[in-house]
């Protein structure tokens, strides 16, 4: 699939904020549409964006984290004006009114367009979020070395 001279984009997605995830997936989809090879490396708060709506956690703290920061991408709150979920609802309404695609639709479109998504193995271990809780299309976990290899060869590198 990889063509000679194909441009590429490598992105770290650390944030789990709704607004930042919108940015991440819009850029990823745009780049994929423009024929670029796209790598998204999800770490820490970003992991929920590629997770199914299932419970996670083995230890007490892991289960607490799963309970407090659980669910899936539809639970992402805006980084400002969150108001305990009201902000998410309000932005959802506003975006719907302007016909912007839903975050989950943009994420699924990215899978469809062949965007390469990876979970960060270390943060998956720390947060007790295993590979089997991820949506279909997420590749096997990798580490920072793999990301850096992709990033150093990429034409565009982003940290979100």
């Amino acid at each position: 699939m990889e063509e000679q001279g194909k441009k590429s984009l490598a992105m770290v997605v650390m944030s789990g904020d709704m607004d930042k995830l919108f940015g991440a997936f819009i850029i990823a989809n745009g780049a994929a549409a423009m024929g670029m090879e796209v790598t998204m490396f999800f770490t820490f708060w970003g992991l929920r964006a590629i997770k199914k709506n299932v419970a996670t956690g083995k230890t007490l703290f892991g289960r607490m984290l799963g309970a407090m920061y659980g669910g899936d991408i539809t639970k992402a709150n805006p980084s400002k004006f969150s108001f305990g979920g009201m902000g998410r609802w309000m932005f959802g309404k506003m975006m719907g009114a302007h016909n912007v695609a839903k975050l989950v639709e943009l994420r699924d479109l990215a899978v469809q367009l062949g965007v390469n998504m990876y979970g960060c193995q270390m943060s998956m271990d720390v947060m007790e979020i295993p590979q089997e809780t991820f949506i279909h299309g997420v590749k096997e976990p990798v580490g920072v070395g793999f990301f850096l290899l992709k990033a150093q060869d990429a034409d565009i590198q982003l940290f979100i």
């Binding site: 819009i26 989809n29 745009g30 994929a32 024929g35 016909n99 367009l113």
Partner: protein, 80 residues
């Protein structure tokens, strides 16, 4: 002048916002033959910048990009 260009595919992009107009053109360009033309109608003003940028990046050609009232009409030629 664009009247004599044969259109192979009509794409309705009305109501779609960034990045979807560009994504839809990208997803459909393969369904016209090389040298074929897509006529796409969008309502997102951002498409006026994005679709030519997509063409420049992918090596395809925007034959015309016209604002017609509230609509933006593109003729996109598949080059390769």
């Amino acid at each position: 002048m664009s009247d004599d260009i044969k259109v192979d595919l009509e794409l309705d992009l009305k109501g779609l916002l960034c990045p979807l107009p560009m994504v839809k053109v990208s997803q459909n360009i393969g369904s016209v033959p090389v040298g074929g033309v897509i006529r796409a109608v969008a309502t997102d003003p951002g498409a006026m910048a994005d679709i030519p940028a997509w063409a420049a990046s992918t090596g395809n050609e925007v034959l015309s990009a016209d604002k017609q009232g509230t609509e933006f009409v593109f003729l996109v030629k598949r080059v390769k």
